[in-house]
C-alpha cells in the first residue's frame, strides 16, 4: 500500500469543504472573513476563488442574523449551509438561533422539517487570547437536545467527520481546537466519511481508561506512552462525536480496565467530563475499582498571561498523576 500523504488538520478540513461544495450546489459557506481572507485560521482558503462570492459569503458582524439565516435556508429545504462562528466564545450573541431554533425546529414541527446545516467553530486555550477567545464550550451544545456535536482530534478524523457532518440532515456543531490546526497526519486524498457516533480507541490498554477530547487526546497519548515504559497500560478513548455519544465503546473500555480518568478542556462543572463520570457511575458501577478522576481547568475564566494560562490548561503532569492515583 502506498504511503498516505500527510497534511495539516486545517488542510484536511479545507479538503472536506471543497469536496462537498464541488459535489452539491446547495452547500454554501458563510461567516466572517471566510471569503477573500480564507478564514481567520485559513480553513476556507481558496474556496472563494473557486466557488465565488455567492456560495462563499462574507457576513457582517451579525452572528444571530447570519446563523439564523442559515437555519432558515436549511429549514426551507433550499440550502445546506456550513457556517463559521469565528470563536466558540462568541456563541452568546447567537445562541438562541442555535439551541432554540436549529436544535428544536424539527421536534417542534413534529418531525416535519430538516435542518441540514453545520456550524463550524473553534475552541481552545494556549494562545494568550484571554477569557473571551479561549474557551472550550462544547458542553453548552451537548446539554441542549437536538444538536449533534463533533470534536475531532486528528487530521484524518477531521476530514471524514466534516464530510459526514455536511451530509447529515441534522444541525451539527463542528468544533475545531485551535491548537490542532497545524498538526499533521495521514489523510487520504479521496473523500471518505466517518459515521457520527463512533468513538475511536486511539490507543489500546488494559489498566486504565482515559476518555479525552480534542487537544487533550494528544496529551493523554503522551502520558500513555510514557507510562507504557513503566508497564502501565493506558487505553485512550477519543469519543470524536460528543452527540451522539458512543456509549458502548466507552463503557466497554471502563468495564475492561475498571479505572477511569476523564480529560477535557471544558469548564469543570456540568461539563463533558462530569458527563462521562456520571455515565460510568450509573452504567458501569460494578466494574469500577477506583474513584473516577476528572481533569479539567479550574472553575475560572481563562486568564490572559501565559504564566497563568499554562497552569489553567490541563497539563500532562496532572493527567499522569491522575492515572497513578486511580491505580
Amino acid at each position: 500500500m502506498a504511503v498516505v500523504r500527510e497534511i495539516t488538520f486545517a488542510e484536511a478540513l479545507n479538503e472536506a469543504l471543497d469536496y462537498e461544495m464541488s459535489k452539491d450546489e446547495k452547500v454554501i459557506v458563510m461567516g466572517e472573513d471566510v471569503g477573500v481572507y480564507g478564514g481567520i485560521f485559513g480553513v476556507t482558503k481558496g474556496l472563494y476563488e473557486k466557488y465565488g462570492s455567492e456560495r462563499v459569503k462574507d457576513t457582517p458582524i451579525a452572528e444571530s442574523g447570519f446563523i439564523g439565516t442559515a437555519v432558515g435556508a436549511a429549514a426551507a429545504g433550499l440550502l445546506r449551509p456550513v457556517v463559521e462562528l469565528m470563536f466558540i466564545d462568541f456563541l452568546g450573541v447567537a445562541y438562541d438561533q442555535i439551541y432554540n431554533q436549529a436544535a428544536k425546529i424539527r421536534y417542534m414541527f413534529g418531525g416535519k422539517a430538516k435542518i441540514p446545516m453545520v456550524l463550524r467553530t473553534t475552541c481552545g486555550a494556549g494562545f494568550a487570547a484571554a477569557a473571551q477567545h479561549s474557551q472550550s464550550l462544547h458542553a453548552l451544545f451537548i446539554h441542549v437536545p437536538g444538536l449533534k456535536v463533533v470534536m475531532p482530534s486528528t487530521p484524518y478524523d477531521a476530514k471524514g467527520l466534516l464530510i459526514s457532518s455536511i451530509e447529515d440532515d441534522d444541525p451539527v456543531v463542528f468544533i475545531e481546537h485551535k491548537g490542532l490546526y497545524g498538526i499533521k497526519g495521514p489523510v487520504p486524498e479521496e473523500p471518505y466519511s466517518i459515521p457520527l457516533g463512533e468513538a475511536d480507541i486511539k490507543k489500546e490498554g488494559k489498566d486504565v481508561t482515559i476518555v479525552a477530547t480534542a487537544a487533550m487526546v494528544h496529551k493523554s497519548l503522551e502520558v500513555a506512552k510514557k507510562l507504557e515504559e513503566e508497564g502501565i497500560s493506558v487505553e485512550v478513548v477519543d469519543p470524536r462525536t460528543l452527540v451522539p455519544l458512543d456509549v458502548d465503546t466507552i463503557l466497554n473500555s471502563i468495564k475492561k480496565t475498571g479505572r477511569l480518568v476523564v480529560v477535557d478542556e471544558g469548564y469543570p462543572r456540568c461539563g463533558f467530563a462530569t458527563d462521562i463520570a456520571a455515565l460510568a457511575v450509573s452504567k458501569a458501577f460494578d466494574a469500577l475499582k477506583a474513584p473516577v478522576k476528572i481533569i479539567t481547568p479550574p472553575a475560572t475564566p481563562v486568564p490572559f498571561s501565559p504564566a497563568l494560562e499554562k497552569e489553567w490548561i490541563p497539563s500532562s503532569e496532572k493527567i499522569e498523576k491522575a492515572v497513578r492515583d486511580v491505580l
Binding site: 457582517p60 451579525a62 444571530s64 442574523g65 439565516t69 426551507a76 449533534k148 441534522d170 451522539p244
Partner: protein, 334 residues
C-alpha cells in the same frame, strides 16, 4: 388602491379568509376558557387584515415566518385548520403531532416556516429562505411577520441588514399593534413609526393602516413584486390593534376598556371591508353571511376532529429529535 383593480375572487378570498381567522380565533378563545386548549395562546382578532392583505400576493412556493401570534398567518397562507386545531389541543393528528402547540404551528410544505416562541426569532429564517431562493434562481419571495416589540430586538437589526446587503427577495412586515404586552409603543421607541427604520438599512420603509385590508394589499403588492423582481427587501409597518388580551387570560391592566371599545367600533377590519364590498356591489349581505356560516361550520368540524383525535403516546416523546435514528442519543434515562 381602488377595489376595481383587484380581481373579484381575490376580494372575496380576502373577506372569507379574514372571517375564517376571526371565527377561528374566537372559538379558540372559548376552548381555552373551557380548558380544552392548554398553554399560552395569543390571538389575532383585530389584526386579520394584515395577514390577509399580504398573503393575497403569495404563492404556495413562497415562504413566511410567523410569530407567537401566528394562527392568522397560518390560515391565510393556506394552512389546514383541522390539523392546526388538533395541534392546539395537543393531539397526535396535529400539524406538529402535538409537539408544537400554538406557539410553534408550522407547515413547511406550504412554506409556513413556523410560529416562534422567541420574539424576533423567525426574522432571519425568512432572510435565509430568501437567500435560498436567490441562490437557487427561483422567483419566490419570503415574508417575515413580527410585532413592533420585535423591532427593538437583535434579529430585526441583523436580519434586515443582511437582507439589504445581499439584496434578497424578502419583505419585512411589522405588525404594530401598539403594545408589547403591557408596554405601549410610545415607550418602546422615540420615533413615530417603525417604517422610519427602513432608511437605516437603505431599504424602503412604508407605513400603512392595517385595519384597511385594501391599503395593506396595495403596499404589499408593490413590496412583493419588487422582491420578486430581484430589487431587494422592503419594510412594511402595518398599524393595527389587537382586540383581545396579549394572551388569553391577560387582565389587561395597562389599557382602558374605552380604548379597546373604540377600536372595535371604529376600526374592525372585517366591518370596514364589508362596507366596501357592499357599497361597491361586489357581494351581497347574504353572500357574505354565507361565508360566516361556512367558516363556523369549518371550525366546528375542526374542533370535532381535534376532540376525537387520539393523544400522542409516551413513545412519541422521544421521536423526531433527529432525522435519522441515532444510537448514542440518551433518550430516556441514565
Amino acid at each position: 388602491m381602488v377595489v376595481e383593480e383587484i380581481p373579484k375572487e381575490t376580494l372575496l378570498w380576502m373577506y372569507e379568509t379574514m372571517v375564517r381567522i376571526r371565527v377561528h380565533e374566537e372559538r379558540v378563545a372559548e376552548l381555552f376558557a373551557q380548558g380544552k386548549v392548554p398553554g399560552f395562546v395569543h390571538l389575532y382578532v383585530g389584526e386579520e387584515a394584515v395577514a390577509v392583505g399580504i398573503m393575497a400576493h403569495l404563492r404556495k412556493d413562497d415562504f413566511i415566518t410567523s410569530t407567537h401570534r401566528g394562527h392568522g398567518h397560518y390560515i391565510a397562507k393556506g394552512g389546514c385548520i383541522k390539523a392546526s386545531m388538533a395541534e392546539l389541543f395537543g393531539k397526535k393528528t396535529g400539524i406538529c403531532k402535538g409537539k408544537g402547540g400554538s406557539m410553534h404551528i408550522a407547515d413547511v410544505e406550504i412554506g409556513e416556516l413556523g410560529a416562534n416562541g422567541i420574539v424576533g426569532g423567525g426574522i432571519p429564517h425568512a432572510v435565509g429562505a430568501a437567500l435560498g431562493i436567490k441562490l437557487n434562481g427561483l422567483d419566490s419571495v419570503a415574508v417575515a411577520f413580527f410585532g413592533e416589540g420585535a423591532s427593538n430586538q437583535q434579529n430585526f437589526h441583523e436580519g434586515i441588514n443582511i437582507a439589504s446587503i445581499w439584496k434578497l427577495p424578502v419583505v419585512f412586515v411589522c405588525e404594530n399593534n401598539l403594545y408589547q404586552i403591557s408596554l405601549p409603543y410610545s415607550k418602546q421607541q422615540t420615533i413615530k413609526s417603525v417604517a422610519e427604520r427602513g432608511k437605516a438599512y437603505g431599504i424602503p420603509g412604508v407605513a400603512v393602516d392595517g385595519q384597511d385590508v385594501l391599503a395593506v394589499y396595495e403596499v404589499a403588492k408593490e413590496a412583493i413584486e419588487r422582491a420578486r423582481r430581484g430589487e431587494g427587501p422592503t419594510l412594511i409597518e402595518v398599524k393595527t390593534y389587537r382586540f383581545r388580551g396579549h394572551f388569553e387570560g391577560d387582565p389587561e391592566v395597562y389599557r382602558s376598556k374605552e380604548e379597546i371599545e373604540w377600536w372595535k367600533n371604529n376600526k374592525d377590519p372585517i366591518k370596514i371591508f364589508e362596507d366596501v364590498l357592499l357599497k361597491k356591489g361586489i357581494a351581497t349581505k347574504e353572500e357574505l353571511e354565507k361565508m360566516w356560516e361556512k367558516a363556523r361550520k369549518e371550525i366546528e368540524e375542526a374542533v370535532k376532529f381535534a376532540e376525537e383525535s387520539p393523544w400522542p403516546t409516551k413513545e412519541d416523546v422521544v421521536e423526531d429529535v433527529f432525522s435519522t435514528p441515532t444510537k448514542g442519543v440518551l433518550v430516556w434515562q441514565w
